[in-house]
Amino acid sequence: MTGTREATRPAEHRSAVRSLLRLWPYVRPVHRRLAAAALVTVAASCLSLVIPLALKWTVDGPIARREPSGVWLGGLMLLLVGSAEAGLFGLRRVLVARPLARVEADMRAALYAHLQRLPVSFHDRWPSGQLLSRGTTDLMLVRIFLAFPLTFLLVNGATIVVGFTILLMQEWRLGLVLLAPVVPLVALCWFFEERYARAARTAQDRIGDLTTVIEESVLGIRIVKGFGRHPALQRAFGTLAEGLRGIELHKAALLGALWALIMILPELAVGTALVLGTLQVADGQLSTGTLVAFLSTALALRWPVESIGFLLALTNETATAADRYFEVMDTAPPAAREPRIRRPRCAPCRGDGGLRLEGVEFRYPDAPPGTPPVLRGVDLHIRRGETMALVGTTGSGKTTLVSLIPRLHEATAGRITLDGTDVTAVPRSRLRQWVAVAFEEPTLFSASAGENVLMGADDAGEEDLDRALAVAQAGFVHDLPEGHRTQVGEQGLSLSGGQRQRLALARAVVGSPRFLVLDDPLSALDVHTEALVENALREVLADTTALVVAHRPSTVLLADRVALLSQGRITAVGTHYELLHGNREYASLMSGPKGTP
């Protein structure tokens, strides 16, 4: 039971720098602050260099000359420079504190907003654990990278360049000796970088898979409980967690090897320089002082050079995180209104009321080529104010068909018009204002019961709420601990399936929508409640154009006419009794073939 990593395969031949540059739009609003902070860092580093000089001056000058006043002056100077250094170190952090947190928050908000607008088919393909890990751990990496590694990569890089310039100026032959390992180091870094990047990507994807397994085991807890702790799930979790450990160890081995090389090669060069320098001093070609100065500069460069190893690793991981982030961000949201190639042949349809589907086809975007489309040419007309029941066998595509109307999925061919307006010709938000939906699986959000219902309409008040609750027979809401202000949903009171279904139904009818789509809205209700809801619904449906997916005769009877969906087409339309007597498939769907096994 591994997750679907297929959707998240890394693109080959990526460049870390290019990935990181893509962060620029988010960094741009704070780039001045970052630059200022970098300058302050440089200034602080310089001051840190001044302190030893101040010490030297105090020791060599006043102390050596035993001048008490000079000593006090030296002490004061040290204190001043020290305070300035401390202040600058602090200033650097104060400067970046909010902006960096802002970059992370902005990126997360952008991801969230983008994901909300991606079509349902995208969410079908991507486990939400993978999306979540992009919005959390990956973005944390980005913030950490901007806070430290980026600055130090620049500062240490600059230090190395300046250091080597000084070395070459001091003694160019020894300097060249020190430069010798640069070429193999760069080659080795490149070699390891590539491997490390791949391992980092795998590790991050694994974390996403692990998140998915954890999420599922929590969401499916009742099944896990109902069947006992499931060894296969635990094995899946164990395998993933152990796999992650393996990759992390592999990463550590790569990093350790890189680090070792970065330590050994330059040190060997310094050792060689030491030997050569000693010989030169012995020959009198070089002064002892110069050799000492040269070597202390070389040793001072040790930390900046060594730090490059893990700084590169962090940079790489951030680049991977950025890749993963943009993988999702690059998925284009559907355009608000698509200019259809097949423009409406408008003469007959203008002023044509109701809901009309013409030659509607649908195929899932990720369906393997060659498989037939789910819907292949659906023609259906629901007159204005009419209620149509949609009937078909389990899995015949009823839910898919109704999800095309508010454009949760996009029809791949054909057209759907609402009172003569093509659904693709209006912005989605307006379309969804016209069409209200109650889903088969009623989802409540973490909000009060009342808010959950009222989110179905833009400007509905208390009265509408009461009316909608009455229609859906959801009077139980008034008996909840805090009435309709009781928190429900994941973080609130847990309601039964029937209760949730009635709230979802109330949500669909609260705004008195022009078009109502109900997907098997009464499946979890008992017969008694179902009858009450049906009676109340009849009044609502009287002047609403509605499409109701139905499994049972009782629900079908809500409708004026029935459409039978079979093999991706509407094969029959008529009243319940007409079809019951004239259509064998319908008859068997509504009563079951009696006697046959």
């Binding site: 000593v71 401390a86 907003a113 079908d124 979790f237």
Partner: protein, 594 residues
């Protein structure tokens, strides 16, 4: 109600948890410390070798004696290689320590979450649980990754430099050690202040995750009801709180760095002045002062590193605390300490007898759902439970499946209380199929096999065939091997219920509970299930909760519930013939069919 007690969390729960995670690696931690010590020695040898080369090798070379130079070259090369290799081994070893601890932590969290009762899950929310297992584990990973090296590095360098200072001049050394008093006050204050912020940030992150998962899991209604803008506004508030936490942490860090640097530099200046006075008085050599001053400066170098260690420690501590709190929760439906085995089934009877003995139940204290229930279900009986929503049917089912324990009284299976059965025995005895039919990632076959891990493909197919799911499954792109997640949204609710049924058939329990398990099936589907049930349930004890009375037709006995009590009890024909509630319901249902 037996509410999951928010476990008692002792004050240093975070440290205790970390200790228990690292306990198995104690030997490795010691080896790692030793490696780091050796590695530092190899690194520190460099400057000494330089000094030796200049002081001894140069004169020797002038004397045409290349021996000392060769020794320096060999020594330097050796140190270089040793420090690199030791680093390599250390990195690998510490990764091993950290990853083993993480693996253990992840496993513990996962197993624990699975062992906690359903009521815990209903309260704790999946988002928060996911936050514990992801971002909180991540912050512990950061501590384990670099923490050890940081902490040891700081300790070694402070020890080494302090020793040198004390050796150079006990007075200056003592003064330097005294300066640790104000510094430790600063460290403590930073820890105290940042702990508050870290805790707040960890909660803020969990809130962000809760909102995120809720939105992505409910994307259809989100889009259909145009919740995008409102969601964004709400998300922005949560995101802003997390941002605030992050920003305040950086500011706390700034405060610590500034104040500790100020103290360090003030101490430095003071010692220089004091040292100078002593030099003037002839109590101290100038060279000693110069060396001491240089070392002093290095003494305070690790302040920043200590800060970054404290950072990852605090972040991890906040997470450890929250995880420890989670791990401290005990399941309200605990496994028995000494499980009792079920007696062997009577020959030829796959069913078992169920007895509810004086059972009372309330989800919340004071709101009793089942007032007092005494009920015996004979072995092999198929019992239908009907009644309006809220009559207590599902509660009855949940008690029988031991999702909850009764507030009072017992539920017995062949005379053994459910609470005395081991988890495995319980699930061989009782299995419940609900109307929510969640599918896990994996293939259709995997999902059915949840019923009986290790079932063969034939057994899986037989179960699917029996329930009428075989046809739709073989019509899927890869048949039984179709990955449900890739087309997860495309297996309809009715088909999912069929998969749930096949799962239950495969489980082959003595007692089968069906709670609204056919609500999304169409009529032919439901009939197929009923036909299968008629044979499958034969001899088995079954409790069927259904709104559709068609299901009741296969029952031997019907219970009508109202307000948590059983108001009618008899065979279907008896009740239909009577004048009770069931007769009314049955009439209404017959009418609804046409």
């Amino acid at each position: 109600m037996t509410n999951s007690p928010a476990g008692e969390v002792p004050r240093d729960a975070s440290r205790a948890l970390l200790r228990s995670l690292l306990a198995p690696a104690r030997a490795r931690v010691r080896t790692a410390a030793l490696l780091l010590l050796l590695q530092q020695a190899a690194v520190q040898a460099g400057p000494l070798l330089v000094a030796y080369a200049i002081d001894h090798a140069v004169p020797a070379v002038i004397r045409h004696d290349h021996g000392p130079l060769m020794a320096v070259a060999a020594g330097y090369g050796l140190c270089a290689v040793a420090s690199g290799l030791l680093q390599l081994v250390f990195v690998r070893l510490s990764a091993r320590i950290g990853q083993d601890a993480l693996l253990e932590l992840r496993g513990r969290l996962y197993r624990h979450a699975q062992s906690l009762s359903v009521d815990f899950h209903e309260r704790y929310t999946s988002g928060r649980l996911i936050a514990r297992a992801t971002t909180d584990v991540e912050s512990i990973r950061e501590l384990l990754n670099d923490g050890l090296q940081e902490l040891m590095g700081v300790a070694l360098s402070v020890l080494y430099v302090s020793a040198m200072l004390l050796y150079l001049d006990p007075g200056i050394g003592a003064a330097a050690l005294l300066s640790f008093a104000p510094l430790s006050v600063l460290v403590r204050s930073y820890r105290r202040r940042s702990a508050v912020v870290y805790r707040m940030r960890s909660s803020a992150m969990a809130a962000v995750i809760v909102k995120f998962t809720e939105t992505m899991n409910g994307i259809r209604p989100v889009q259909a009801f145009r919740r995008e803008a409102a969601n964004e506004a709400h998300f922005a508030v949560l995101n802003e709180r997390h941002l605030e936490g992050n920003a305040r942490l950086l500011l706390e860090m700034a405060r610590y760095v500034v104040s500790s640097r100020l103290v360090a530099n003030a101490v430095l200046a003071t010692i220089v002045v004091w040292g100078a006075c002593r030099v003037a008085a002839g109590e101290l050599g100038l060279g000693v002062l110069a060396a001491a001053v240089l070392y002093l400066r290095r003494l305070y170098d690790p302040i920043d590193r200590l800060g970054s260690f404290l950072n990852s420690w605090q972040s991890a501590a906040a997470s450890l605390e929250k995880i420890a709190e989670l791990l401290a929760r005990r399941p309200s439906v605990p496994e028995p300490a000494e499980p009792v085995p079920l007696p062997a089934r009577a020959a030829g009877s796959p069913g078992r007898e169920v007895v509810f003995e004086g059972v009372r139940f309330a989800y919340r204290a004071g709101v009793e759902v089942l007032p007092r229930l005494d009920l015996t279900l004979r072995a092999g009986e198929t019992v239908a439970v009907v009644g309006s929503t809220g009559a207590g049917k599902s509660t009855l089912a949940k008690l029988l499946a031991r999702f909850y324990d009764p507030t009072e009284g017992r539920v017995l299976l062949d005379g053994v209380p459910l609470s005395a059965l081991s988890g495995r025995e319980l699930r061989r005895g009782v299995v419940m199929v609900t109307q929510e039919s969640f599918l896990f990632s994996g293939t259709v076959a995997d999902n059915i096999a949840i019923g009986r891990p290790g079932a063969t493909r034939q057994e899986i197919e037989r179960a699917a065939r029996a329930i009428g799911a075989h046809d739709f499954i073989t019509a899927l792109p890869d048949g039984y091997d179709t990955d449900v997640r890739k087309r997860g949204g495309r297996i309809s609710a009715g088909q999912r219920q069929l998969v749930g049924f096949a799962r239950a058939l495969l489980a082959d329990p003595a007692v089968l509970i069906l709670d609204e398990a056919t609500s999304s099936l169409d009529i032919p589907g439901e009939r197929a299930v009923q036909r299968a049930m008629a044979t499958v349930l034969h001899g088995r004890t079954a409790v069927v909760i259904a709104h559709r009375l068609s299901t009741v037709e296969i029952a031997d006995r019907v219970l009508v519930m109202d307000g948590g009590r059983i108001v009618e009890d008899g065979t279907p024909s008896e009740l239909v013939a009577g004048a009770g509630r069931f007769a009314d319901l049955h009439k209404a249902w017959r009418e609804s069919l046409v």
